[in-house]
């Protein structure tokens, strides 16, 4: 467990904005080579690993995405400031006053904002519009800036993980380095079924990597390991919180992209109850995960999502509970260990639903 947390911290310190996941992928490869039978990187950049099972269980895919939300440099202004667009969903207000690092060389920059003193009364009461924000790397003009940064470079938040409070961890990119760290941990063990551990790319811009990974693996069953929304902050109605930090890993019943397979979900909740592992159901149906692509991407798969509640997700300071993380590892491991005995595939039932 200690090693898993260490991996998570190191993973969140790396930059892997959608489309440039290499630093994250390289780290993961260094951690899994000794534990898998085979691995390769596909055309889009997914890391697909294979671990032969000890028995004849179904083909199981485990998915965690390597990418994180970030920024794309779109223009270098004549004054040396950089215009950008967001990659993935980042709230405008979250960008203000933040430290970023740009491109492979991690050029430091900051996102400034018009001082209160210079704002009109309308601006004071208004909201932040990201179209008006720029990244400042200290350059005096376009030429200077262009010597350090190119249009098309990606920028990531420059925030280091901090453990604080009661067993809490603050970091950027918990979505979905959490899933990556859990998957690395799961691959250390042997299971009865064949496991395809897929570390995927470009989830944040519309579940791109999972489409090609699923095409290649064609799983029977898939577990998606995610970081999910959590807003258990005072004055939030319970149904709007999505999940509660510290109450265990969250299971998705339905979201924008998928309805979790009923049998698989039952298997997960039963496993949790049998082993005394806390869990919760995600209360909102917003957002989507790779499960949406995986269920239809191959020959059709039973899918479920096990996710870690992350407060302030898609910001540089997301917060999680370390107990939740440990319980997510425990639960997913137990689920995999007991999988063949508990799940019957529809196709083994002649395609008919069994009750």
């Amino acid at each position: 467990m200690k090693e898993a947390l260490e991996n998570l911290k190191k993973l969140t310190a790396l930059d892997g904005v959608s489309g440039e996941e290499k630093p994250v992928r390289d780290y993961i490869i260094s951690k899994i080579t000794d534990h898998v039978d085979d691995y390769y990187v596909d055309n889009i950049g997914n890391l697909i690993t294979y671990k032969k099972g000890t028995g004849n269980g179904p083909k199981v895919m485990l998915d965690a995405h390597m990418d994180e939300v970030g920024l794309l440099i779109t223009l270098i202004n004549s004054d040396g400031l950089l215009k950008f667009r967001t990659i993935g969903g980042i709230e405008d207000r979250v960008l203000v006053g933040k430290r970023v690092r740009i491109g492979e060389n991690r050029v430091p920059g900051i996102i400034g904002f018009k001082p209160l003193h210079l704002q009109s009364s309308k601006e004071r009461k208004g909201t932040v519009d990201k179209k008006q924000l720029t990244i400042d790397i200290g350059a005096k003009d376009k030429e200077q800036a262009a010597s350090k940064v190119e249009i098309g470079d990606l920028a990531a938040f420059a925030y280091d993980p901090v453990e604080f409070g009661d067993n809490k961890l603050m970091a950027k990119a918990l979505d979905d380095r959490v899933g990556c760290a859990v998957l690395i941990e799961l691959l250390k063990h042997k299971y009865e079924c064949d496991i395809y551990g897929c570390f995927t790319v470009q989830e944040e811009i519309g579940l791109k990597g999972a489409k090609t990974s699923t095409f290649q693996v064609k799983p029977d069953i898939a577990l998606v390991l995610e970081g999910t929304t959590c807003y258990d902050v005072p004055d939030t109605k319970e149904y709007g919180m999505s999940t509660v930090c510290g109450k265990g890993p969250a299971l998705t019943v339905m979201d924008r992209t998928v309805i979790a397979d009923r049998d698989l979900l039952r298997h997960i909740t039963k496993t949790a109850e049998l082993n005394g592992i806390p869990y919760q159901f995600k209360q909102t149906i917003t957002g989507g995960t790779n499960a949406g692509k995986i269920q239809t991407g191959g020959t059709g798969a039973k899918v479920a999502v096990i996710a870690l509640p992350c407060r302030y997700i898609h910001s540089p300071v997301s917060v999680m509970d370390i107990n939740d993380f440990e319980n997510m590892i425990k639960l997913s491991k137990k689920v995999l260990e007991t999988l063949p005995a508990s799940i019957t595939l529809y196709r083994e039932q002649g395609g008919k639903e069994y009750v």
Partner: protein, 342 residues
Amino acid sequence: MECGELLKKLNDIRAVTGRENMAAGKIAELFRQYCDDVSIDAFYNVIGFKKGQSENPGNVLITAHYDEIGLIVTGIEDSGFLRFTAAGGVDAKAIGAMEVTVHGKKDLFGVIGVKPPHLIPPEDKDKGIKMEDMRIDIGYDGEKARKLVSIGDMISFNSPAQELMNNRIAGKSMDNRSGVAALVEILKELQKLKHDDNVYVVATVQEELGLIGAICATYNIKADLGIAIDVCHGDMPDAPSDEAFPLDKGVAVAIGPIISRKHAKECIKIANEENIPYQIDPEAGDTGTEAAVHAVAREGIPVILLSIPCKYMHTAVEMVSVSDIVSTGRLAARYIAGRSKE
């Protein structure tokens, strides 16, 4: 210490306005090696004294505030989240997802929470956020939070100094640690120069709450000339071009009703003679700086205002250029020494 290194160190010191006792000792330590005497007054103004060489010296009083804007705890929820309000001019729009330190019984790490885009209903997208609706997450439940935090505890932003291109540095408190760095530059320069006048450099408190430290300092030290050092707006997109000054173009020398025009002109003359880069900062009102306090202290003190251009003021990434601090220090010191020739 080189000016940029010093500025980074100063940025990382925490002195939320009204609680400068957190840092007064550190500032005093900084002055000590260049001064004949260093003292801290009842308000935690830090006063460095450098004796003049004339038998009948005048007194020059230079102030730069060392407090920073921050937040103050106004409530502790049963769930352990903290309510807060601003200490100084904090823009609620600019603090979402910010790392902070809560100065409770011990220093506690926290973050200012933001709702993820997935959970914001479309009808709320265009609504401004109010500070009273925001919370700080320190990762404790209510019981533990209440043991560690009290209402009234101060909160500072975590924004370590970030060096950028052209020796420009961004951080949480360039307003006005860059002024404090300029005070040190002045003291360093004065080591090399002869000056008839006694020089008092004062790092002042509670500027962000209404120039409070300077009010005490300008009363207690009877000066013949006042010099206020602060930041002015650095040039940035969408800022009025006559109110914002480009970085790296030198110190901004103010001209306006409350500034002594005579002294400002003398200062500009010195800048021209010594080839010190400067720009003119026309100030129609009272400048909003400590110059306003000097001008009406006691019987009235002739005052000049030297400003360091600072981009993105009152955000956690205020940015200044070290070259402008150096030119501020050089100009003030040369001007003080130049008075000896009269």
